[in-house]
Amino acid sequence: MCTCFLVYLATSPLEHAVTANTTTDLQQPPLAVEMRGIVKRFPGVLANDHVNFELRAGEIHALLGENGAGKSTLMNILAGLYKQDAGTIKVKGKTLEFSSPRDAIKAGIGMVHQHFMLVPSQTVTENILLGLDEPRFLMRLQEYDKKIADLGDKYGLKVDPRTKIWQLSVGEQQRVELLKMLYRGADVLVMDEPTAVLAPQEIEGLFETLHSMVAQGKSVIFISHKLNEVASIADRVSVLRRGKVTASGVPAKGVSRQELASMMVGREVALAVDKKPKTPGEIILDVKDVHAENDKGLPCLRGLSLHVRAGEIVGIAGVAGNGQVELSQVIAGLRPCKKGQALLNGKKVSNRDTRYGIEHGMSYVPEDRTHVGSSPNLSVTDNVIMKNYRKPPISKGSMLDMSAATKFAQELKEAYDIIVPTVNTPVRLLSGGNLQRVILAREISGHPNFMVAVQPTRGLDVGAIEGVHRLLLTQREADAAVLLISEELEELIALSDRIYVIYEGRMMGEIKVEGAEPDKTLMDAIGLMMTGTPLEQIHMEGAPTHG
């Protein structure tokens, strides 16, 4: 196995086909990975049901599927993290058995998970060397710094090897994870929803890296829920639905988004939303000249004012890290407000006990669903009662009525299609999309009169996104005020009645959205504002504005 691997590294894919793989048709590039009949069963779910999957050398292969379809499971099997119940894995024509990620990486397969596994207090180089046999002593780290910097240059992965992980942005940390895999000699790279956590510019950077990697003979498996990305980056696409393959290696150029969507969900999906005209009511949320600092103690909100009325959805557009998340935290009472205030129904909520907001009809879908929005080792039931355990019927005096809680969880499980064996399952075992549903179910079930939703559709599949959009619109119909913070411009334009654009914690302007169609001038204007041009300085023809 080892020799074969070395030969492979030393030759380009085409030569390799000639030297090592004489049986295959010379026209076809060789298969980098071939998974046959993979079965993986979890208690109560068949996550992979006889899945066949082929990856050609030198291609970018997108893996699509609904939440809980089994994509991460399949890739975790390939990366040696889980063991399949049945089926075989061939890497470059050789059948292999992986019993640990170490085996997989030895075979050249490296996976970048959605949750990074880096040590925050150590430098990039130290993290990359972690777990390797060399160097035996931590001397001459500079040499390794250099090696890693060179490797980074080769693939366009810019990151300073000497910085500590905690100082890096999410995008940079992802590059470190990629470098880690490349340093270990991976030539098949599996990326589980890599773009979900990235800002738009970072996504472009990642795509360039992926292109340069395949140009140098590597192959990439790319999991994503964003169909437009898939069309722009992937060579071929495979689709999973409920553990089964519904499309296997179709060329990405030939299929439309609509077709992909229906392959994933098994029915027609409305990609456009149906937003009815509505006259907004009185002001529910009023943010006045709010100033706040971020975790590092630097100013991140610098005098932000905005309002949301009953029965309207107001979007906040901005490049990630321009104060959106901090704004939501100030409103929820989770971050100190240095100056100014946020009012809910005329009553102050900033710098006030979080519980006040919860008890006065505020619901909050936080950006970080694993660290803030849920408690991983507690059950689905314990997680859905987080906001209403103080009220009957869940609360009975100072006790909890566990049967009422279980019943409530059961109802939400049915109503929101949460796929989980039982409501006693700890939520750390849920797929990303299902966890998001648990949080949304909890936040919406309280019939809020005001809702802040930060990236509510991140990591959700098209079908689920459609569902969330419908839910948000239902909130609007029910006269709730909704503040929607999202990095997806199309989503913002489709759902919002008005959009505020913020940049470095300052208001760049407010735009009224009339039609649901993303219109070019509007998009361009928002794009300019997102990069720091105030609305007054933009000359827009025809686009409806509002001062």
Binding site: S99, L334, T354, H371, S375, L378, Y389, M399, M402, L429
Partner: protein, 374 residues
């Protein structure tokens, strides 16, 4: 992940470990723990055999010495009683990831509080038992609570590490009690207080031997009732009350708890106080049920530290704590009977190691495969 290969040949039996992805059924941890104790006894037996002893005879002796007849069983329970309460104390703090290692000091302060009622005296010696005992329990509960509240408050308000502050308070507690025992309440210069009047002692089974002859010589005292009631109450608090839900949520993910509007500062103080109070109740039970006078040495016997171990072994489960405490009570008791006296300590150690190692089985699954090896 580790892998053992029995033999490098083709078709060899391989044992693989893979992370356990599902939640094992409820009986599984219990079965694994029992298995671990069994393995520990075998290992201990081997050691005994090597040192020239007869393991079967030794075990039979230990069993007889701690469970053999109703008399020693009663003694075992007496030993287990303070441990139940200190372990409960540790379990509630640990549940919120508050590392209270000051149960020892809280225990002693509890004993002091109960003694103060008798010796100060806050109540005249002829007070009835029905008033004396509750007053003493309350005083001990309160003193232990204060001793837990101090590190809790420092942690909550000033982020002072509770491990250090609760540990330091142990030493203060011992010195404090010594001061009273050697000075103010000393009985004729001896390092102990006068004996408590009978009304101020917890009744023992043997006290009723006149009406029920079977109870003759049995030292089990009413402190056991404190322990059992406390365990049941704690079970309800943790798994069935709103407060317990908050504790579990904070323990698992404090950021989510904050997001749910839970007051972490307040809960830190309250949980540390409750933890101290439970340990203090242990002190009450020991001083009023066994020692029956204030005296440092028998109270300062490490019950607080044993409680830490027992709480972990019982996986912080209040009802499991009762069983594990009885096991530890038996080993302590046997320790006095067996020569060399190191044997029960060694067995205790081996059981501990095996139980901790068995935790591994709860997180990993073993897979036996017969497959080709490279």
């Amino acid at each position: 992940m580790a892998e053992w290969t029995a033999s490098k040949k083709r078709g060899a039996l391989r044992v693989q470990l893979e992370p356990r992805l599902d939640v094992p059924p409820a009986w599984f941890p219990v079965a694994v723990s029992l298995g671990a104790v069994f393995v520990a006894l075998i290992l201990g037996g081997i050691v005994i055999a090597f040192s020239g002893g007869n393991p079967f005879a030794t075990y039979a002796y230990i069993a007889r010495a701690s469970f053999g007849d109703i008399g020693v069983l009663s003694d075992t329970i007496v030993k287990a009683t303070p441990i139940i309460l200190t372990a409960l104390a540790c379990s509630i703090a640990f549940r919120m990831k508050l590392w209270n290692i000051g149960a020892e000091g809280q225990f002693i302060m509890g004993a002091w509080g109960a003694s103060a009622v008798v010796l100060a005296p806050l109540l005249p010696p002829e007070t009835t038992r029905w008033l004396f005992i509750p007053a003493m329990a309350l005083a001990g509960f309160g003193m232990g609570g204060v001793w837990g509240l101090i590190p809790g408050y420092l942690k909550a308000k000033f982020n002072v590490n509770e491990i250090i502050s609760s540990l330091m308070l142990n030493y203060i507690a011992v010195s404090w009690v010594n001061y009273w025992v050697f000075g103010v309440w000393s009985e004729g210069g001896f390092q102990m207080s006068p004996k408590f009047p009978t009304n101020a002692s917890l009744p023992r089974l043997s006290d009723y031997a006149e009406t029920i002859p079977f109870f003759r010589g049995l030292t089990t005292h009413a402190g056991l009732i404190f322990g059992i009631l406390a365990a049941i109450a704690l079970w309800f608090i943790v798994y069935r009350s709103r407060w317990g839900y908050e504790i579990r949520l904070i323990g698992d993910n404090p950021r989510a708890a904050k997001y749910a509007g839970i007051n972490i500062v307040r809960n830190t103080i309250l949980v540390m106080a409750l933890s101290g109070a439970l340990a203090g109740l242990g002190g009450v039970s020991e001083v009023a049920g066994v020692v029956r006078r204030l005296q440092t040495a028998p109270l300062n016997a490490g019950y607080g530290f044993t409680g830490i171990i027992v709480a972990w072994l019982a996986k912080l489960h209040p009802l499991a704590i009762i069983l594990v405490s009885i096991l530890f009570g038996a080993l302590i008791l046997a320790g006095r009977e067996i020569q060399p006296s190191g044997i029960p300590k060694m067995i205790q150690g081996i059981i501990l190691v095996c139980l901790i190692a068995s935790d591994f089985l709860l997180r990993y699954r073993l897979r036996f495969t017969r497959g080709e090896v490279e």
